[in-house]
Amino acid sequence: MTVVAFSDVDVLDILVVLAVAVTAVLAVVIPRRVSATIAFLVFGLLLALLWARVAAPDVAIAEAALGGGVAGALLVDALHRRQPDSPQRSRRRTATVTAVGAVLGAVTVAALVTVLSRLTAEPADLGPLALEAVERSGVSHPITAVLLNFRNLDTLLEIAVVVFAAVGAAALSRDRIRPVSDPGPVRRVIAVVIVPALVLLAGWLLVAGTSEPGGAFQAGAVLGAALIIAHLCGVHAARAEGRRALAIVVTGLVAFIMLGAIGLAATGTWLALDLDWAFAAILAIETLLTVSIGMALAMLFLAAGSRDEGSVTDARARAAAAGGAP
């Protein structure tokens, strides 16, 4: 076995990869939920950094917007729940299971590394093909062209997943996070300054997506986070629940299916876009998707939000309220 030599690797790349791997281990190994969640949030931020290093700024924006936004909010909100005691099992059995898992994992990593080391450094054929076809897609940013023209069936199904997740979560959960009635000065400032800035940012990402990194997913993620912040800062107009929100969420999916039907009528192929109106169609469907994704993510958060009767914090809060404390 030869000595590993990093002759032509950027030092920053090595450091970022190491940091990502260490935070991944921490997020998985630490037994307390709070610490594991924080380690995972830092893992997300470092992943965004890593995506910047592998020339994927689109993914970096999406990671920052979802990992630090909606997904982070979901996990941080779950921190308020009482962590159930881990079932009492014999220490010996736990150690055995962990050891077997570690060995099997090591074998799998070795096998994967063996396969991956045979890969050539030559790019796959599909990439140049897609890059070449971008000028016939209606937009100039390759990733948007792939998402909303070449492979828009994937995107359609993805929207379906998001819509079903939002509807399913709303159906499964009986209670919702209630809007804040008296937000207080700090939250009012956030509602007045940060929320409009985030909505503006979502709009900018949406429009920028046709020619540079950005697009409906990033814009939708930012919009979803903005809706959550607005809801928790006393903006009643932005409630992502009830029939109105559901209608907005479903609109994106229905519009996408209709676009497919229009493509079938106009060009003879399901979901195909004609170059004459491709730009307008992509921008229109992206706008609807942004609103739909944002609303769906906010709905997910409101449904997943815990108002657990059994939680320690709530019990303490109720006791304090009963005692007349502020």
Binding site: V186, R187, V189, I190, A197, P326
Partner: protein, 107 residues
């Protein structure tokens, strides 16, 4: 040209120094309030210096409307950082104070 470079490097160094100071405060200060005090001020000031350095740098190297757009983005980042970090510090400190008050009534 050389003067611009020196200005950029000095601003960058000052900014990084403030961020380092904020991080040291986060690690070394004894309680939540003083840690919040250290980080919410020093880190944002450092970010401001770094953003100023990069703005001067881009205006000097690639003058034009694109550079003005970049400067506007950098300014937006700093304004968002000013408001967001201050709001965060308030929310966290308030949350801790209320938790302590409740613990006091329970005891």
């Amino acid at each position: 040209m050389v003067i611009v470079d020196i200005v950029v490097i000095v601003l960058l160094a000052v900014g990084v120094m403030f961020v380092v100071a904020g991080t040291v405060g986060l690690l070394r200060f004894p309680d939540l309030a003083s840690r919040l005090h250290a980080v919410s001020k020093a880190d944002v000031l450092g970010l401001g210096f770094i953003a100023t350095a990069l703005a001067i740098h881009i205006l000097a190297t690639e003058p034009g409307w694109a550079a003005v757009g970049v400067v506007a983005k950098l300014a937006l980042i700093w304004i968002l950082a000013l408001i967001g970090t201050a709001a965060n510090a308030h929310l966290m400190a308030g949350s801790r104070r209320r938790a302590e008050a409740e613990r006091g009534t329970e005891a």
